[in-house]
């Protein structure tokens, strides 16, 4: 996974609350393999009208926002469905960081697992940043090392779980680390078989149920 350290890029305002993952990527697009690319589906029903024509007034469609890698939005971004495709759609569209007052728990976890930074900022700071972007500004610097966002002459702190920060800074994935603990895992599960035989579906007393 690509490490995330510091990013200077254009930011796009999305002044909406509760942008759920059904909006980030409608369910009808999720049967495709990831290798096909998910960027075109990002916020599809908000970006395009019924005839699949881009809505000119939607922030991500405005020419001055083309190439934005940062999204600034209101509370509860990424709530709802656990679909990791929401993170794929953002990343494949070129978004590396979302700034919002709060995020859906499953979404933020999926984001971090894919190298996308979900950065939490106070509601007032987000409103100020939205106003600054609305005034025609664009370029921001997101520094994960110091957890500071710089926009124009102003600097705001943002918050991120320290474990996730380390993971993003290093581009780590969990799996290799877990596999290094294989012996401890096996021993724990062996003991658990004796401690909670009812929790296992592989024992000799396993049910002869259909399935």
């Amino acid at each position: 996974m690509e490490p995330f350290r510091s990013l200077t890029a254009k930011a796009c305002p999305l002044p909406m609350s509760n942008v759920d993952t059904d909006q980030l990527i409608p369910a009808r697009f999720m049967s495709r393999p990831r290798s096909a690319g998910y960027g075109d589906f990002l916020l599809y029903d908000l970006r395009f009208d019924a005839a699949a024509v881009p809505r000119p007034d939607f922030p991500l469609n405005r020419p001055e926002r083309a190439g934005s890698a940062v999204l600034v939005t209101r509370r509860n971004f990424g709530s709802g469905s656990s679909r990791e495709a929401a993170a794929y759609a953002l990343l494949d569209h070129g978004i590396r960081c979302v700034l919002a007052p709060s995020f859906g728990d499953i979404f933020s976890s999926n984001a971090v697992n894919n190298g996308l930074l979900p950065a939490r900022m106070e509601e007032d700071a987000v409103e100020a940043l939205l106003a600054w972007l609305d005034a025609g500004n664009a370029e921001v610097t997101v520094d994960l090392e110091s957890r500071v966002l710089a926009a124009g002459g102003t600097r705001w702190d943002f918050a991120i779980d320290p474990v996730w920060r380390t993971k993003l800074l290093n581009g780590w994935t969990d799996l290799d680390l877990t596999l290094s603990h294989r012996t401890a895992i096996d021993a724990f599960m062996e003991a658990d078989h004796a401690r909670r035989p009812w929790a296992w579906l592989d024992g000799p007393a396993g049910p002869a149920a259909l399935g």
Binding site: M16, S17, N18, D20, D22, Q23, P26, A27, R28, S31, P33, R34, D45, A50, R74, R75, N76, S79, G80, S81, S82, R83, E84, A85, S102, F103, G104, D105, I106, S109, N110, N113, N114, E123, E127, D161, P162, T166, D174, L175, L177, T178, L179, H181, I185, F188, M189, D192, R196, P197, W198, A199, W200, L201, D202, A205, P207, A209, L210, G211
Partner: protein, 471 residues
């Protein structure tokens, strides 16, 4: 951290699964049950890319639900994409030797109905699935939560998951609820009270006399909707109601083994004096039949109310949300909710498709005609069979509703069961998000009895007068 002091239900289940804790506080948890479905294909592809195999095949169970057709079972699936998605699930299960409740299984159904119904979900287990409504399984006292595809791949490969310990929140509903009030009304009232992000970062335990009085089916509905208040998991402490539900289920332990397990399960409820990071209390007597009017589950009001006015909202973000909701839903400020005319109903989904849900809807529809079309999709093939034995299917069809097979169906529309653009649906599902039931579809969430009432009158309706003199 709980230490040696009094512990909550959540603490006990969490601590029994911690294999190791990293310096930074992340815990490696043993996962007892992983349910997968058609949508889990990203994770299986990740395994394929690494050449990895499933570590503990017995603990991973597949269920065909998200894409399955609800009509024409037994025939080949006409739509290429849908056929491929269902086939891919079977192939992945076969490739790794995993148990599958496939399209043709007599016990097929929605994963969050099948797990508890089969006794695969038990108290004290950790349960995960690549679906946010996995919180449902917490109704039996399991710690159950939805995960993303990378986490699914991690569970398949190791039967473990790294997690940060969430905070603990207790939501108590005290007293008793009035007649005609369902678990759905309790859940939507909670979400309206605390907001869709109200429980973010928390593991919720539902408690209080109104919760204890719920059947397991009601508790499943309640825990199902935990994610709509932002909580990844919601739990109810196991009790005699839980044991009665589980005894004799196909995958539950049997005879002496059940009694030994039950002893462990009954030790799970929180100790007296165990502390929560946050507590919320609702009065059960104040809960009314409730419906959503906007595009977030927190936009919920009693059916007797009128719609809010964005110009009167104190906060600009809230005003914007009200305006956006009214606009998308084709409604106006000050309108009476009971005057909202509905185009169709859907009774089904992992939230409300169990036998008690179908009985509640049938009690309203019995001897009456629906004024609008509607779809009834039972939560599992076994629920369908039981409903037919009880004659419920004939009540639905006599009323003019369509009685179909089991699956996620019109809750998410992946199988082609869609609400048309601009159409308004009274739905027993879990999300009134824009486009959730189909592009441009307008969803009002409510209980099965309330959906049945809307079918009978053709508009959003207080079900209580329709239940007078009935069960």
């Amino acid at each position: 951290m709980a230490g040696n002091g009094p512990r909550t239900l959540f603490d006990k289940v969490w601590e029994a699964h911690v294999i190791l804790t990293r310096e930074d506080g992340q815990a490696l948890l043993q996962i007892d049950r992983h349910f997968f479905h058609e949508g889990s294909h990203h994770a299986f592809n990740q395994l394929r890319a690494r050449g990895a195999r499933v570590a503990r095949p017995s603990q991973n169970i597949g269920v065909a639900d998200h894409y399955v057709p609800t009509r024409g079972r037994g025939n080949a699936i006409a739509d290429d994409t849908i056929r491929r998605m269902v086939q891919q699930l079977s192939d992945n299960a076969a490739d790794h030797g995993l148990r599958l409740f496939g399209l043709d299984s007599p016990a097929q159904g929605i994963v969050h109905v099948v797990g508890p119904e089969q006794g695969l979900t038990l108290p004290g287990l950790t349960v995960v699935c690549g679906d946010s409504h996995t919180s449902t399984h917490g109704a039996l006292g399991a710690l159950a939560f939805g995960i993303g595809a990378s986490e699914v791949a991690h569970v398949l490969t190791t039967q473990t998951l790294w997690q940060r310990r969430p905070k603990r929140m207790r939501i108590a509903v005290e007293g008793s609820t009035g007649p005609g009030i369902a678990a759905k009304d309790i859940a939507l009232s909670i979400i309206a009270r605390i907001g869709t992000d109200g429980a973010q970062g928390h593991a919720v335990e539902y408690a209080g006399s109104a919760i204890r009085a719920l059947s397991v089916e009601g508790r499943l509905t309640l825990c199902n909707l935990s994610i709509e208040s932002g909580a990844r998991s919601g739990m109810v402490a196991p009790d005699a109601t839980t044991l009665d539900f589980l005894r004799g289920r196909p995958f539950a332990p049997r005879e002496d083994a059940f009694d030994r397990a039950a002893e462990a399960w009954l030790a799970l409820p929180g100790d007296p004096g165990a502390e929560f990071d946050r507590e919320v209390v609702l009065d059960g007597a104040e809960i009314a039949p409730i419906v959503t009017w906007g595009v977030s589950p927190e936009d919920a009001l009693p059916v007797t109310a009128t719609l809010p006015d964005p110009d009167r909202a104190a906060d600009p973000a809230r005003a914007a949300q009200i305006r956006e909701g009214l606009d998308y839903m084709g409604l106006h400020a000050g309108q009476r909710i009971a005057d909202i005319v509905v185009d169709r109903v859907f009774i089904g989904s992992c939230t409300n498709s169990r036998i008690e849900d179908l009985r509640a809807a049938a009690a309203v529809l019995s001897g009456r005609r629906a004024r609008i079309p509607g779809l009834v999709s039972p939560g599992s093939t076994l629920v369908k069979r039981q409903a037919e034995e009880e004659g419920l299917d004939r009540i639905f069809t006599a009323a003019g509703l369509e009685w179909v097979e089991s699956g996620c169906s019109m809750c998410v529309g992946m199988n082609g069961d869609l609400v048309g653009a601009g159409e308004r649906c009274a739905s027993t599902t879990n999300r009134n998000f824009k486009g959730r039931q189909g592009k441009g579809a307008r969803t009002h969430l409510m209980s099965p009895a309330m959906a049945a009432a809307a079918a009978v009158t053709g508009h959003l309706t207080d079900v209580r007068p329709l239940l007078e003199g009935r069960a």
